[in-house]
Symmetry: C2
Subunit: 600 residues, 2 copies
């Protein structure tokens, strides 16, 4: 069985042909790079993925982290990988040169993260979290905090985490109770419990640094009283490290994503847990949103990546496994055909490819917007920022939700073998299921999209989105074999606009619950339109490339792109009809449903 988990050709096509990443090097921030350095980075990431991460995929699943004597033991490859990430400059890849970073574009980093996550999702989380936590300190931490923490986090010696969730609050951050008490020594003393903290403790690093939300005593109620702190497990004291009263109460036993421990942490059991404020008091949630938004994109990347690995595993199986005959020719004396020749198997493969490559394209689109936010100013920066904000919940949720469907189709192709652990599909199926949950559930993403992103600045972000889509439609309308698809996307965008206007009007009338009742379905509808847009973009780029001088192999790749685009428009885009039908009813059905509805 083939061991393919990503297509580098596809990644390069998306980066260079679709999203013009090369043009970024015109900006001073990225002027030290060029396509060669980007390619070198991608190749190195792929090598690490193939040689270090993929071989441990199954082992890390079957021998999950152990909780022993209050500490968490992980697979030795974690230490090896974190060291590799440190030496290779991966953790500080996005950070500015003057802080010791590599100043690489997010688009390129996203492609690398995707590659790692496709090889071994659990492993990929350790450096990603560390990079996100370090980025928070870079952006909002004092010079002293930066000096103390960044070098060792960039070096992969200290793990970073985001410590938000508490047992009594779950998704409702307004209700966290972890308390921080000021002292005269420049630090706070904290006490509280955090749960579901990924990589919250493990022996693959020398220390763990929690970027933690807590409330300073006397702070305002709700989210307006949340502050952000750095809380190390071991605190630097001179040249030494001292235990900072951060205790690991246990690890959760999970369906999948087993290579990374999700911990229950207890802070300040012995009144000796010190925390250092990041930025100003009570502004913690807005800071944390920086890390959270990045983390949401990374969840999308992780989900698309697992779906990519599942796609290639099922493709290889379908090409090798003989079973049955074509429906047109069922003569039993003839040999069986590989199952990829059955139309329904091709449908399942095309569905996977359409989801995976549509999702990655949207994620790299977000990477591009993120890079443009970094390098532009004023109104232009504002525009990219709005687009990124708008698309983040979709880039998180579409791969997470549709990735489940995608992996499930991959498993289905293997039939009974897909259900057994001889093949990796069943692990991918388990690993995938975390994504609609962590970093904000799909329900929360829907409310974020419709209740916040769509309405900010009087709908400015939505208007910009439609403009971007319209540009792609215009480009495609000039090409014969794309025109029909451009029209379909135009219609779908019009329907999305109509739904949006109707819902926003409802919201303006003050009925917030009814306005947001079907926000999850709105998110689904928006996701389908956004992915159709990305496919049309890919269609345009593929035909443009085909018009040049290409090898036979490249021609097949571009033809496959075109076919997968067609597939998405024929099989997936029509789902927007039923969704918009429902959304236009906007009757607040579920708001009105009483609890008695569930009596039996």
């Amino acid at each position: 069985m083939s061991d393919t988990f990503v297509s580098l050709r596809n990644i390069r096509f998306l980066l260079y042909n679709v999203h013009d990443v090369e043009t970024l090097v015109r900006y001073p921030r990225f002027e030290d790079h060029d396509r060669d350095t980007f390619d070198m980075v991608l190749d190195t990431a792929f090598r690490v993925a193939r040689e270090l991460l993929r071989p441990k995929l199954r082992e890390m699943d079957q021998q999950p982290p152990e909780y022993v004597d209050g500490r968490v033991k992980v697979n030795p490859v974690v230490r090896e990988f974190m060291a590799e990430c440190g030496e290779g400059g991966w953790i500080g890849a996005a950070a500015p040169l003057d802080l010791g970073g590599q100043q690489l574009p997010q688009s390129i980093i996203a492609a690398c993260v995707f590659t790692w996550a496709a090889a071994n999702y659990s492993a990929s989380v350790y450096p990603m979290l560390t990079a996100g936590a370090a980025h928070l300190i870079e952006s909002f931490g004092s010079a002293e905090l930066q000096e103390q923490y960044l070098p060792r986090m960039y070096a992969g010696k200290w793990q970073g985490t985001m410590a938000l969730t508490e047992p009594q609050a779950g998704s409702s951050l307004a209700d966290i109770v972890t308390a921080a008490e000021p002292t005269n020594e420049g630090y706070f003393k904290v006490r509280g419990q955090k749960i579901f903290i990924s990589a919250g403790d493990h022996d693959g690093v020398d220390n763990v640094v929690h970027l933690m939300l807590a409330k300073i005593k006397g702070a305002p109620a709700g989210v307006k009283g949340i502050s952000l702190f750095v809380v190390p497990r071991m605190r630097p004291e001179g040249k030494d490290l001292a235990f900072n009263d951060v205790n690991t109460a246990g690890v959760f036993h999970k369906l999948g994503y087993r290579g990374c421990p999700i911990t229950h942490l207890s802070f300040g059991e012995n009144e000796d847990c010190r925390a250092w404020l990041v930025g100003e008091p009570h502004k913690g949630l807005s800071y944390m949103f920086q890390m959270m938004n990045n983390a949401r994109i990374e969840v999308g990347l992780g989900a698309a990546a697992i779906a990519s690995a599942a796609y290639y595993a099922s493709l290889a199986y379908a090409q090798e496994r003989p079973q049955g005959r074509r429906l047109a020719d069922k003569e039993p004396s003839q040999p069986q055909v590989p199952i990829i020749e059955h139309a329904d198997v091709k449908r399942m493969l095309l569905l996977q490819r359409a989801i995976v490559e549509g999702a990655v394209s949207l994620l790299l689109q977000c990477g591009r917007y993120s890079d443009l936010v970094e390098v532009t100013e004023g109104e232009e920066k504002g525009r990219y920022s709005l687009l990124l904000d708008l698309l983040t919940p979709i880039a998180k949720s579409y791969p997470s939700e549709m990735g489940i469907i995608s992996v499930s189709q991959g498993l289905q192709i293997l039939g009974g073998y897909g259900y057994c652990d001889e093949f990796p599909l069943e692990q991918f199926y388990r690993d995938m299921r975390i994504h609609p949950i962590h970093e904000g559930t799909t329900g929360i993403q829907g409310i974020d999209l419709l209740g916040r992103k769509v309405v900010i600045k009087d709908g400015a972000a939505f208007t910009l989105f439609v403009k971007e889509v319209t540009e792609t439609i215009r480009a495609a309308s000039g090409v014969d074999s794309l025109r029909a698809y451009a029209e379909r996307l135009e219609q779908a965008t019009q329907i999305l606009t109509r739904v949006t206007e109707q819902l926003v009007t409802l919201g303006r009338q003050g009925n917030r619950e009814r306005f947001l009742a079907d926000a999850t379905l709105y998110l689904e509808l928006f996701g389908i339109v956004a992915i159709a847009w990305q496919w049309l973009k890919q269609g345009v780029a593929a035909l443009k490339a085909l018009a040049g001088k290409v090898s036979q192999e490249e021609a097949a790749f571009y033809a496959g792109k075109h076919a997968t685009m067609q597939f998405f428009f024929h099989y997936e885009l029509p789902k927007s009809e039923g969704l918009s039908r429902r959304l236009l009813e906007a009757d607040g059905f579920t708001v009105q449903a009483t609890l008695a509805t569930f009596s039996d």
Copy 2:
């Protein structure tokens, strides 16, 4: 956390109010029964489910069957349960009195199977398989085979299996190679390999009896050369049992459904495996279809049952777990509300309820048709038989496919906890995934529905189906609060009819691959319409019941039924629009897609 896994009230509502099971006792076959005996049977099944099966749900998952020294060890509860099934007459429940059975209607048995599977799906499979295998012997076996095998199978002392799948053939039964050679002793000698055989060997019984497909030497190629045999693991020799050269090569390690071993069996390694022909040579597949069709209904029941257990587990959590506040009132100084008050959580619960109770209703509808086939004659019998044949692939696939969505929504309601094994959702998620695979994949069900069931007798079964739906529409049209839904169902049925006519015309033109290219989507569309029909039926029955004298509690139940029916029509039926849009294109897109499409 509540331990509810089914609603007996709902089962009774479906049996008595919706499907008029009481009227069956008018027929001589069921005249010894009445509602009291039916209720007693249901209550007993529920007691067994609650007291014996449910307590072992988790243990059987966490300590799956072990393969030791060529044999399979299962949880001791299997022996206890099989004995209970024997003593209680469960395995022969449907069999005629004169063969030692109970002559109970399939509708009642289906409700019991549903209850057991909801408590512990893996456990429920052992007696179901035994009953199915025994039924084959009852129907087609010689008097000698009946005498030798039935008493001990009914007693739960001998396990029955269906042994079809082979490594090189998978779903393609035409390609099985297990060979049977006639002898002069009245038996055949067989040699071959079978894989994925559920309960193919275990120590919870004294013997295992395989109902096996094999080819007699010199038989015609393909499915026309398949014969059916009884192949016991230990063969009766006088009063003793002798080893029959049936070896267990191993068990598969599975994602879920872990309480039941799926075995790899090797027959005749030492040329001493005897097999007894059932019925005539080369007609084995048609006999086996009896067991397979029953087994498909049972897979549907199992899927709906797991989804039922998941629904109640997530409902209990949603009622107990406080988190966040209503969107209309986010004042953080107010206490948090139980998450069931959030519209999106209600949506997820209603979706689960709509899927579970819609699916069970369709399955009991099939049970009713099955009973009517048994008690009627001539043209009437033919009608019910056609309806049952038509609906079987839907009754298998809708619960299997939508059950995955349903359980996933249940898991989602629990958030991070849903992903952890402290709660049963993650097990249900794993257990559920087998159902679109075993007893014929969803792809095969789609081809069976469109390529066989819809077209037999010039579309007679489809016409009968539309007639049944139209009757329900007529009944609902007379009720104010149902009229709008009757109209929606009428439109959906018209669309389904148009799609069907167009596809069948395509098939008549001889392009079989294009005709069946989207059979899986056709199955999905048909499933949605069939479930909408069942919900409208439930709506009619609920309002009829409400019009009588009912307690407050009963009124709440019927109101909940009405609300769930509305939900299905508002949220699920619209999916038929996108599906029919795609199906009407009927362009054979996936047939034409070349293998180069997948190059990268």
